[in-house]
C-alpha cells in the first residue's frame, strides 16, 4: 500500500528510535531491555507530538517510498532538498544521541570486563591460598614421618644396649660368685693359721719342758737348756706371727665379704631398669607420634577433599563469568548496528542519494546474530523474526557435543 504523503522526519526519527529499541532489546536483558523500552517510549512520544503533516507543496523527483526507508510500508519520503530545516535538525540531533548510546555500550563492556578480571584475580587468590594450605599440611605430615623414623632408630639402639647390659649383669653376677668363693677360701686359710698357732703353742710347751729337764740335769744339760730357750723364743714368735696373720686374714676376709654383700643387692637395678624405663618412654613417644601422624593424614585427606570442592566451586564461578563474553559479543553487535544507524542518519541529514534503508539495516542485523537468544529477542522487539512459538521459554541449549 502506497501513500502519496511524504514521511515526516519525526516519523523517521521515530523509526530510528524503534530500531534502537530493537537493538537494545537484542542485547542483554535488564538494563538494555530498559533502554529498549525507553527508546520505544521516546518513539511513541515523537509520533504523538505532531499529527501527520499535510503534503508539502512540492514532491520532487528524489522522492522515494518510505517503505524502502523504514520498512513500515507505503509511505513516500521527500528528497533531502525538500526537508524543512527544523526537521533536518531533528535528524541531525539523533547523531550525538546514537553516539552516546554507543559510548554507553563501550563503557558497560569495559566496566564489566574489568569487574570480571577482578573476580578472576580474587578466585585465583583463593585457589592459591587453598593450595598453599594443603601443601603446608602435607609438609607437616612429612616432618612428622621424619620424626617418627628418627625416634625409631634410637629405639633399636637402646634395645641392643639393653641386651648388652643384661649380658654384662650376667658376667658381673659370675664375678661376684667368684669373689664370694675367694672370700670363703680366705676364711679357710684361717684354719691353716690356727694349726700353725697350735703347733707353735705345742712347741712352746715342749721348749718349756726341755728347759726344765735341762736345768734338772745340771751342767750336762746346760747346752740343751740353751737350745730349749731358743725353741721357746721361736715358738713364741711363731705363735705371735700366726695370731697376727690370722687376725689379718680375718680382717681382710670380713672386709671383702662386707664389700661383696654391700655391692650385691644393687647390681641389677641401675643399668637395665633405667634402660627399660627409657625404652618404655620412647615406645610411648613413638605411639603418640604415630597417632599424630595418622590424625594429620586424616586432616590431609579432609583438606584434599575440601580443596577439591573449593576448586570445583571456583571453576563453576569462573565458568559463570563467561556471561561477560556473551554479553560483550551481544553488546558489540548492538554497538556496531548503532554505528550503521548513525551513518544512515547522517546520510539522511546530508541528503545522500541511494543510501540504504533502515529495513536493510534491520535485516542485516537479523542475519548477523550468532546466538539463539539474540534471534528470540529480535523477534520480540523488532518483529518479523523467526520467533519460536513460546518466546518466553527459551529452548534448552545443548552446550556439549562431542563428535
Amino acid at each position: 500500500m502506497v501513500f502519496a504523503r511524504p514521511l515526516h522526519p519525526r516519523r523517521w526519527l521515530a523509526g530510528a528510535l524503534l530500531l534502537a529499541a530493537a537493538l537494545a532489546g537484542a542485547a542483554v536483558e535488564g538494563a538494555w531491555a530498559s533502554a529498549a523500552l525507553i527508546c520505544a517510549a521516546a518513539a511513541a512520544f515523537v509520533l504523538a507530538q505532531r499529527p501527520r503533516p499535510a503534503p508539502p507543496p512540492f514532491i520532487g523527483p528524489m522522492k522515494r517510498r518510505a517503505s524502502d526507508f523504514l520498512g513500515f510500508g507505503g509511505v513516500t519520503i521527500l528528497g533531502p532538498a525538500d526537508l524543512p530545516e527544523p526537521l533536518r535538525e531533528d535528524i541531525e540531533a539523533t547523531l550525538p544521541f546514537l553516539d552516546t548510546l554507543r559510548g554507553q555500550i563501550d563503557g558497560v563492556q569495559q566496566d564489566v570486563a574489568q569487574g570480571v578480571m577482578a573476580v578472576v584475580e580474587q578466585v585465583e587468590v583463593v585457589s592459591r591460598l587453598s593450595t598453599g594450605q594443603r601443601e603446608r599440611i602435607a609438609h607437616s605430615l612429612s616432618g612428622v614421618s621424619t620424626m617418627r623414623a628418627a625416634v625409631a632408630v634410637p629405639g633399636t639402639i637402646i634395645a641392643r644396649l639393653s641386651a648388652m647390659l643384661a649380658e654384662r649383669d650376667r658376667m658381673i653376677a659370675g664375678n661376684y660368685q667368684g669373689l664370694e668363693q675367694l672370700a670363703q677360701e680366705f676364711h679357710e686359710l684361717r684354719g691353716a693359721v690356727d694349726v700353725i698357732s697350735q703347733v707353735a703353742d705345742k712347741a712352746f710347751f715342749l721348749a718349756v719342758n726341755a728347759s726344765v729337764e735341762a736345768h734338772r740335769h745340771g751342767e750336762a744339760g746346760k747346752a740343751f737348756g740353751l737350745i730349749a730357750t731358743e725353741m721357746r723364743a721361736l715358738a713364741t714368735q711363731t705363735a705371735e706371727g700366726a695370731r697376727n696373720v690370722g687376725q689379718r686374714i680375718n680382717s681382710f676376709a670380713d672386709r671383702m665379704q662386707a664389700q661383696i654383700s654391700a655391692a650385691m643387692p644393687g647390681r641389677n637395678d641401675a643399668g637395665t631398669q633405667e634402660v627399660a624405663r627409657l625404652m618404655g618412654e620412647l615406645d610411648a613417644a613413638q605411639a603418640e607420634i604415630a597417632a599424630i601422624s595418622a590424625r594429620l593424614g586424616e586432616l590431609i585427606a579432609i583438606m584434599e577433599a575440601g580443596h577439591g570442592d573449593l576448586v570445583h566451586s571456583l571453576s563453576d564461578i569462573l565458568g559463570r563469568l563467561q556471561f561477560e563474553d556473551v554479553m560483550r559479543q551481544r553488546l558489540g553487535q548492538v554497538g556496531d548496528a548503532l554505528g550503521d544507524l548513525r551513518a544512515l542518519a547522517a546520510e539522511a541529514a546530508d541528503g545522500v542519494d541511494g543510501r540504504r534503508s533502515v529495513r536493510d539495516l534491520l535485516e542485516d542485523q537479523q542475519r548477523s546474530y550468532v546466538m539463539e537468544s539474540q534471534k528470540v529477542v529480535h523477534a520480540v522487539f523488532g518483529g518479523g523474526g523467526e520467533a519460536p512459538a513460546d518466546m518466553a521459554a527459551e529452548a534448552p541449549v545443548r552446550r556439549i557435543e562431542l563428535f
Binding site: 578472576v120 571453576s315 564461578i317 556439549i400
Partner: protein
Amino acid sequence: MSKTILIVDDSPTMIMSLRSTLEMNGFAVESASDGARALAMLEGGLRPHLIITDINMPNMGGLEFIRGARALPSCRFTPILTLTTESDPAKREESRRLGATGWLVKPLSGPDLVGVVRQVLPAAA
C-alpha cells in the same frame, strides 16, 4: 607432568578465566588472541595436548584455524574443542567436517569444561 592446553580466544577475560580454571585443575595453559597467532605458535613448535578455540575472532576465525592446524602433521590428531557463542548449525557441521573434536557453547560451567577436557585428553596422551 601436567598436560598443556592451548586456548585461542579474542576475549582477554575468557582467556583469563579459562586459564585460571584449567590451571587450578592441574593443566598448563598457553594462549593466543586469534587463529593466526595460534597457528604461528603451532608452526613454531608448540605441541599442546589439547586446543580450545573460539569461532568468531578477528584476523583468523576458529574454523580457518582448525583447517590450518589439521594441515600440520604435529596437530593432525590433537583434540580440538570449539568454545563459542555461535549457534549456527552450519558452522557446527563445518567444524566437525574440518576435524574438530567437539562443539562447546558458552557459557559453559567450569566443572563441565574440565570434565570434557579430561574426557578427550587421554586420546592425546
